[in-house]
């Protein structure tokens, strides 16, 4: 029961909702960049929302299934193929042992999530299966996947088995994720603890600028290009909390958005905090792409998060129902 990595991709890691409770020791969160993508992939195969998934970047790995697997892909579209047959996104698929999955071309998005029914058989480190690359711990051996790795899978608790014959069987439903990734909408943020350190011109250019994600961007953070922001107050800041989504202002006037592999503390002014509901959408943008920022209230942030969580919960119920109905007819 395993996934065999035949060829590694740019950065393939095991991630879940992240590691919490050890921030006082400087242990950072890690976790899936796009939590919605992770959740959707999990729901489709009947897993819990935060079951560990494989997060892939492009070029993505080549994977051979050493056992039949109920699998789903979500997030970025890397044009997946199973033995040269196209694998749809956001759809549960049953694949036979021996099938190889390849990703041909990056069509949309930056990170693709692969969930396997039953999940990966991994030991949690400090309560989470997320890979912490800086500590070299958690996930799969604390590192990105390499050719030759054999990722063991747990027994698929649903007992879903592929029919004989066909290499791939798409189950007859898929989910619509367009609500989560509205095109051309601004990424919303709440003003951060040092927002008022910006002069008024810079406060307004923060919202007016088309911010471009530079090539110096990864799971730790996105450096942005667009406008030079000025501080009205220049004070040396002693280190204090930062979190994924924190917008820091670097001494050269350039903002950086911290992402999920960021440190627990930092010393640059925190001018904003991206709202959690919009982090998945930001995670699917990549180097060269641009977005705008919009300041919102905390109430808006919580309302957006609540709405997103409710849509996800309905999706989970719907997926579970369809899977159980299919099983009933199968028996």
């Amino acid at each position: 029961m395993s996934l065999h990595i035949l060829k590694s991709g740019l950065l393939d890691t095991i991630q879940d909702e992240g590691r919490y409770g050890f921030g006082h020791l400087g242990v950072n969160r890690s976790g899936a960049m796009d939590r919605v993508g992770m959740a959707v992939a999990n729901f489709l195969v009947g897993n819990a929302v935060g079951e560990a998934v494989l997060e892939m970047h492009f070029p993505a790995p080549e994977i051979r299934l050493e056992a039949p697997v109920l699998l789903a892909l979500a997030g970025a579209n890397f044009t997946a193929e199973a033995d040269s047959v196209s694998v749809p996104l956001h759809t549960p698929v049953l694949l036979q042992a021996g099938v190889s999955i390849k990703f041909q071309k990056k069509r949309a998005g930056t990170r693709c999530y692969l969930a396997a029914g039953g999940g990966f058989a991994l030991d949690a480190w400090l309560g989470s299966c997320s890979t912490n690359l800086v500590a070299g711990a958690g996930g799969w051996k604390g590192r990105a996947l390499r050719a030759g790795d054999m990722l063991a899978l747990r027994q698929n608790t649903l007992g879903v088995q592929p029919g004989s014959g066909e290499k791939m069987q798409c189950l007859p439903w898929s989910v619509n994720v367009s609500d989560f990734y509205p095109a051309n909408q601004p990424i919303r943020f709440c003003p951060g603890p040092e927002y008022t350190w910006l002069d008024t011109d810079s406060q307004s250019s923060l919202a007016k600028t088309a911010w471009q994600i530079t090539a110096q961007s990864n799971r730790m953070g996105y450096r942005l290009k667009g406008a030079n922001l000025q501080q009205e107050r220049v004070t040396e800041l002693v280190s204090s909390v930062v979190a994924p989504g924190t917008i820091q202002l670097l001494p050269n006037g350039q903002p950086i958005v911290l992402m999920t592999d960021c440190q627990t503390t930092g010393g640059y002014p925190r001018i904003g905090q991206i709202i959690q509901a919009d982090l998945p959408r930001l995670a699917q943008l990549g180097a060269g792409q641009a977005f705008s920022l919009q300041a919102v209230s905390l109430e808006t942030a919580f309302a957006a998060l609540q709405e997103q969580t409710q849509i996800l919960r309905r999706m989970k119920t719907g997926c579970a129902l369809k899977l159980s109905m299919m099983l009933t007819t199968q028996r």
């Binding site: 711990a137 958690g138 604390g142 709440c190 002693v238 924190t246 440190q263 503390t265 925190r270 969580t309």
Partner: protein, 235 residues
């Protein structure tokens, strides 16, 4: 002591007692940290104690589901304000005294001679000054298990390197401003390196991966290169 609570968007809140490196303030931070750690407020995910601030990261998704009538940030603010009142004893004495052996040999201290030159001191005097104080671990951050300690003798205080090194070996002991710190893992970094410890400050396989905790008292003991090499832990 007066404090201010500010939101970290919809993820948490930051309680700060000014922007300062001060033992009394930090004691209050750590006392409240311990108190809240014991209490485990519903929805609390992580506590991040720093020099003069304590931050709470919370699970807004769960709080919105379990207490739909409460705005999570307001709820946490109210709870925290109640708990802060209970912290009256700020003589934080939980810290352990930990001895850290350090090899100050030239081969492991690429910035020692420069600091000596800049301050018109003998390198041996730098070593003596660095290893003759007891330091406080104010906080851990930057890397898993990285202790921010202070304060060094004024004659040792040196600003960070203008351009950080690509790779600082694990165990390196450095100085940045009036702070001293130890790199727990191989990482890029801009601190001035004056020595190296054979101890592992962070080991994911230990039950307690981080060797140090905020509030600990640290003493550096100079060791020879031979002693360092004998004490290097197996990888």
């Amino acid at each position: 002591m007066t404090y201010q609570i500010q939101p970290l968007g919809d993820q948490g809140l930051c309680i700060s007692w000014g922007n300062t490196i001060d033992m009394r303030v930090n004691s209050l931070v750590l006392a409240l940290n311990d108190h809240l750690l014991q209490l485990q407020l519903p929805g609390m995910l992580d506590l991040i104690p720093a020099y003069s601030s304590l931050s709470i990261l919370f699970d807004a998704r769960r709080m919105l589901r379990e207490f739909p009538q409460q705005q999570p940030y307001d709820y946490m603010c109210k709870r925290v304000a109640l708990e802060i009142q209970k912290i009256t004893e700020v003589n934080y004495s939980e810290g352990r005294l930990v001895e850290i052996p350090v090899c100050y040999d030239q081969s492991m201290a690429p910035d020692l001679e420069r600091i000596a030159r800049q301050n018109k001191l003998d390198p041996a005097e730098i070593i003596r000054l660095h290893s003759s104080r007891t330091y406080r671990v104010y906080m851990l951050g930057f890397l898993p298990g990285f202790p921010y300690m202070g304060a060094v003798d004024d004659r040792l205080a040196t600003p960070r390197l203008a351009s950080p090194r690509q790779l600082v070996p694990a165990g390196s002991v450095g100085i940045a401003g009036s702070q001293t710190g130890i790199y727990p893992l191989d990482a890029p970094g801009g601190w001035n390196l004056i020595g190296r410890t054979p101890l592992r400050l962070f080991d994911p396989n230990r039950a307690e991966p981080a060797l140090l905790r905020p509030g600990d008292q640290i003493r550096f003991t100079p060791i020879s290169l031979a002693a360092f090499q004998k004490n290097i832990p197996a990888p």
